[in-house]
């Protein structure tokens, strides 16, 4: 696993992709405020040095797939953030391996201005504007005027169709979350008492507390409502959107990669989010914390130092 990726970064082989098979196909084009670090495989701007992973971060599990891209749109997304056809330029790939505070698979616009046009991007149907809205809806809902501006994203491969009935729309049905959550708990208890099964298995919800540095209080998220890190990131961003500072605070944070998402696992250790496959993450995550980037130094000492070098 390590060696494979090391070779990759050294060789700047733009065709090899390290992929984990994940359920979702959503890969954003733009970086978001809440960023996940790359796995601790290769960090530096130069390809020589490879750092051993920081203490607390477990090595990523071996890749399930190694895909040779080009263009076919597999449902897996680029977990590590390396992209296949980014012109095959060495520094592009190195940029892909350098420490960035960006989600796996996402591209910061200022880093990869052309990459967005060519990378593997499986964009959600525009209905995802609302989180998960169902675009297979009959025409009465059409004409909402949410069409994308004619940027290159439009040329992308359409998202794999989601089963229309399963998609969730924000705030629909109009039941307060407190009620939804409470009934989910109760239903789950009824089910598990009937089936005598482990309550954790097949659980319909998975609430973890989320704290954000600077925000006055904790929130809770249901990890089961997200299928991958990207959705989690978007969901958290929406939740804390009120705390962005500055006029257009979100974009400011995004550029600086100011916030780092961390989680406490079963053993009580604090890890950076994004290193392990999503399912593994949901099983071991006990709570989340959105830290300021500077505070995350303790978790990833070498990388924080590099980060300052990498930034313009």
């Amino acid at each position: 696993m390590h060696s494979t990726s090391h070779e990759q970064s050294k060789a700047s082989n733009s065709h090899a992709l390290l992929c984990y098979s994940l359920q979702s196909s959503l890969v954003p084009a733009a970086a978001t405020t809440f960023a996940l670090p790359l796995p601790p495989i290769a960090i530096k701007t130069t390809s020589d040095q490879l750092h051993s992973p920081p203490l607390l971060i477990p090595p990523p599990t071996p890749p399930v797939h190694v895909l040779l891209l080009p263009m076919s749109p597999p449902l897996e997304h680029d977990y590590i953030g390396l992209s296949a056809a980014a012109g095959g330029r060495a520094d592009d790939d190195l940029k892909g391996t350098e420490l960035r505070l960006g989600l796996p698979g996402c591209e910061s616009p200022d880093r990869r201005p052309t990459a967005a046009a060519t990378t593997l991007e499986l964009l959600p149907a525009k209905g995802a504007k609302r989180g998960f809205s169902d675009e297979a809806v009959p025409p009465a809902a059409g004409g909402k005027g949410k069409e994308k501006s004619g940027d290159e994203k439009d040329k992308k491969v359409a998202a794999p169709p989601q089963p229309a009935a399963k998609a969730q729309v924000v705030g629909w049905p109009p039941i307060r979350s407190y009620r939804k959550n409470t009934m989910a708990t109760t239903t789950n208890q009824l089910k598990s008492s009937k089936e005598d099964s482990d309550a954790k298995q097949g659980q319909e919800f998975l609430y973890v507390k989320v704290s954000m540095d600077g925000a006055p209080y904790l929130r809770k998220v249901d990890l089961k409502t997200y299928k991958n890190y990207k959705e989690l990131s978007v969901g958290l961003e929406k939740m804390f959107i009120g705390f962005s500072t500055g006029k257009d605070g979100v974009s400011e944070n995004k550029k600086d990669g100011e916030y780092v998402l961390t989680y406490e696992d079963k053993d009580g250790d604090w890890m950076l989010v994004g290193d392990v496959p999503w399912e593994m993450f949901t099983e071991s995550c006990r709570r989340l914390r959105v830290m300021k980037g500077s505070d995350a130094v303790g978790l990833a000492a070498p990388r924080a130092a590099d980060k300052s070098k990498i930034k313009n």
């Binding site: 084009a29 809806v137 009465a140 809902a141 909402k144 629909w172 039941i175 407190y178 009934m183 208890q189």
Partner: protein, 601 residues
């Protein structure tokens, strides 16, 4: 009320500089005190200056239904003698996560400061709904409210934690009512939760009502029991889900005069209080102290053990007028024996787990029912269908006195809705939520136009309407044409185009509150309501086809409307259209504390 006004001698016409007519003013004020309804008082205040003065001086109940519409200074100038103040904040759609948090996080602060500086020296009671209140606000209030302050209630509020409650408990000595209902309090680390129940002063309290059913952490039972024991006037008690049945029994033994009870878990727990608990003891608890006659309202049942519900059916049910089982997924078998005893029930909240047969049975027994809510056990579009048009029709057959219904289902038919409109002419509130969006009548395949049309046509007293299902512009033509009393309208995923919105805005002359989400309505529709917007409290349109130009046009032509454009999407998903339009009339102009995702035109 207006008859009293006519008996009043008209004010004398002044000749030169008029001497203040003290006698007349005193008489006016004395008489106006009997005028209670807000609309009547508003009407009286418009008669002339002295009536305005007298009415303002004697207004006791002040309702600021949009906290952003008037400043506390203005309110205090006009109504200095207010005893009860009601403040409402966020729009209702914020309950469903459509509005980002922090939209108006500091709207309450100036009011807290005003209360603290005795701007309302006679203040006794404060009710807050959908307002963000911080612990610091509560602390400020607690330390500075007058000794006469008695009642504090929070409904659907947020922003505070147990620390704020502890402040209130320890400093508001004369407190009679502390109700925290459906609030999303701040999460706290387990070891940081304040024991606010223990913070109440030693000695007998004046507490008449204590409700904390939504409080998520556990409250130490010893402190709760001690508090209840020294609150001889307690009439309403609502405990949270951590209070077990055994603990509830002990609390009930200490409160012989209970009228409203929020029962907590309603299941035996593991603690000392539950040892040896049996059905007989529960039966006794509910039948002793003449409780069968005094107890009128039950709620809670957060982890209901159904056998205990049945056990109290014979003693507790007959006198009940209000029953909230909306957190208890009872099956028809469990529900029937209990509801069969509830002959006096007027308000019922229940989950759809009772199914059509449960609703049918309920309708056959509860002839006096006025308010019904059937809430979904599984609130998803693709959930199993538990109740249907059969239940709705059955309700209408049995409960002819029905005034208000909120009904969640997966599918519906026009026929059932028409039947309800014919059987229940007293309906004032009709809220039907077909959870599957754009669902037509599932028997005929037609849109639900005729059903909703029948409701507005046949229910002449209808003031509140929520629509769902597949609706064409025809439905809105009906609503505009017949819904002349409608004041509150909620529309979601409906209509074909601007014409629908035009029908509403031009037809519903009494419309005050309009909430629209995800409908194909654009600027033309919005602009068709210009003549009416000043008569409205607010308009919410989200997920529609509005543009910046259209909204700017409204803002330009209606300077007293505050036109807010709220963007609830993260940066990466934003588009050019308007995400949320929320506009409201205000005496204060645009507010200053505007978060970055809000733009005021």
């Amino acid at each position: 009320m207006s008859e009293e006004d006519e008996d009043q001698a008209p004010p004398k016409r002044p000749r030169a500089t008029p001497p203040p007519d003290q006698v007349l003013d005193n008489v006016l004020e004395t008489v106006l005190q009997f005028l209670a309804a807000p609309r009547d008082r508003s009407a009286a205040s418009l008669v002339c200056c002295s009536w305005h003065r007298a009415e303002s001086a004697t207004r006791v109940s002040l309702a600021v239904r949009n906290i952003l519409a008037a400043s506390p200074a203005r309110a205090a100038r006009r109504f200095p003698n207010a005893h009860h103040i009601l403040l409402k904040g966020r729009p209702r759609f914020a309950d469903f996560n459509l509005l980002p948090p922090g939209w108006a996080g500091s709207a309450f602060r100036p009011w807290a400061a005003a209360f603290a500086s005795a701007a309302f020296p006679a203040l006794r009671s404060l009710s807050l709904k959908r307002i963000t209140v911080t612990d610091d606000d509560l602390d400020l209030l607690a330390r500075s409210l007058p000794a006469s302050f008695r009642e504090l209630s929070f409904l659907l509020c947020d922003g505070f934690s147990s620390r704020g409650l502890a402040s209130i408990a320890s400093h508001c000595r004369g407190l009679r009512v502390l109700d925290v209902v459906d609030c999303e309090m701040n999460e706290e680390e387990d070891d940081e939760v304040s024991d606010w129940v223990a913070a109440f002063p030693r000695g007998a309290t004046n507490l008449e009502s204590l409700c904390f059913e939504c409080f998520t952490p556990q409250v130490p039972f010893a402190a709760l029991e001690a508090l209840v024991a020294r609150s001889p006037r307690l009439r309403r008690l609502g405990v949270n889900q951590h209070v077990s049945l055994g603990q509830l029994r002990r609390l009930m033994a200490l409160t012989p005069h209970l009228t409203h009870l929020g029962t907590g878990a309603f299941r035996p727990g593991d603690g000392a209080e539950d040892e040896g608990l049996d059905l007989g003891q529960i039966l006794t608890a509910f039948s002793s102290a003449g409780r069968a006659n005094t107890l009128v309202s039950l709620s809670g049942f957060r982890d209901l053990a159904p056998e205990y519900l049945l056990s109290i059916a014979t003693v507790a049910a007959a006198n009940l007028t209000s029953l909230d089982l909306s957190y208890a997924p009872v099956t028809p078998d469990q529900f029937l024996p209990f509801i069969a005893q509830c002959r006096n029930l007027e308000t019922l909240w229940v989950l759809d787990s009772v199914r059509d047969e449960g609703l049918d049975a309920m309708a056959s027994f509860c002839k006096k029912l006025q308010v019904l809510r059937v809430l979904p056990l599984d609130a998803h579009e693709d959930a199993d269908e538990l109740v249907s048009e059969i239940g709705l029709a059955a309700i209408s057959e049995g409960c002819r006195e029905l005034r208000s219904i909120l009904y969640f289902c997966q599918r519906m038919t026009n026929a059932a809705v028409i039947t309800m409109s014919q059987n229940c002419p007293e309906l004032k509130v009709f809220r039907l939520c077909i959870m599957g969006r754009h669902q037509p009548d599932h028997m005929t395949g037609e849109p639900m136009d005729e059903g909703f049309g029948a409701i507005v046509r046949n229910c002449s007293k209808l003031t509140r309407l929520s629509t769902s299902g597949r609706l064409t512009d025809q439905a809105f033509e009906y609503i505009g044409k017949y819904g002349k009393s409608v004041r509150t309208l909620s529309v979601a995923f409906a209509g074909d185009g601007d014409l629908a919105l035009q029908h509403l805005l031009q037809g519903c002359s009494k419309l005050e509150k309009l909430e629209i989400r995800d409908c194909p309505f654009g600027d033309a529709g919005l602009l068709s309501g210009m003549h009416h917007f000043y008569n409205m409290r607010f308009v919410w349109m989200s997920g529609c086809n509005l543009t910046l130009q259209g909204c700017k046009e409204v803002a330009r032509r209606l300077p007293r409307m505050v036109v807010e454009l709220v963007n609830s999407q993260p940066e990466s998903e934003r588009t050019d259209g308007v995400d949320i339009l929320y506009m409201y009339r205000s005496l204060e102009g645009p507010r200053e504390d505007v978060p970055p995702f809000v733009k005021i035109l």
